[in-house]
């Protein structure tokens, strides 16, 4: 067997392994509701910080676009004013 398929097979086996190993003694015992609570809270606590960070980044991207657009708009206006023909209204 070549190395690449073997590595892929090993990776698949490792992803399936935790459910068989029951590495956490507290997660593996108990009733179905308890197991489900562990499962759902693990997902919740894993995704919540990622969601918060993602929301923060999204906010920064959206607002920085508007911020940069307004900055360029103002500088364009400034340049247009500087190039005004002689005799026009003074800028300062």
């Amino acid at each position: 067997m070549s190395r690449r398929p073997f590595a892929a097979l090993l990776a698949c086996a490792l992803t399936a392994l935790p459910s068989q190993a029951l590495a956490c003694a507290a997660c593996g015992v108990g009733n179905g509701r308890n197991k489900m609570a562990f499962f759902l809270t693990t997902i919740f606590l894993s995704l919540l910080p990622l969601g918060l960070i993602g929301a923060g980044l999204l906010w920064i991207v959206r607002n920085s676009r508007a911020f940069i657009a307004s900055e360029f708009h103002e500088s364009d206006e400034d340049e247009a004013g500087d190039e005004a023909p002689e005799g026009g209204p003074p800028r300062n």
Binding site: N31, N34, A37, F38, T41, L48, G56, E71
Partner: protein, 196 residues
Amino acid sequence: MRPATDPVGPALERRRLANNGPLGMALVVFVEVMLFAGFISAFAIVQGSAMPGMWPPPDQPRLPIERTALNTAALLASGVLLFLGGRRFRRSGAAAAQPWMLGALALGATFVVGQGMEWVALLRHGLTLTSSQLGSFFYVIIGTHGLHAVAAILALAWAVTAMRARRLTESALGAVELFWYFVVLVWPVLYWKVYL
């Protein structure tokens, strides 16, 4: 020629993507959200590990759902009033915002006092920090939120005082608002998970 009093021309206004106050408070709120998420997760797991029909523990008093619903309504209404007050502060100034902010402060205080009265009644009925897992989680989770609510009330009281003295900045109000919204919005989740 520039005037002698203004050797470098008009000062350039430094624009920012976000004010420092709300930005710093957003980081605090991020941490607080994770704190309450941890509490709620631990509570859900303990609740799930109880034998069928044994949660809440039969020998423990029931949590006052109806009275707390009224407190919840007061807290949510305070959030709405603060939102309207903040908007008026930015549009019309301090005088227009003051009644709304005072209303938010009063409703927030109503919530905290109501929760305190509820705690006294529960302690009298035997629900203590050590009486059961429900008691432990109840006082830790709801108590932590209560401390946050008290801190938010103090912050809002400071904001109202600063507003009267014409010292309140938009940045400071934004930070106070953000913290208050966090206290308001996390409460329905706690009420749903702990009380219902």
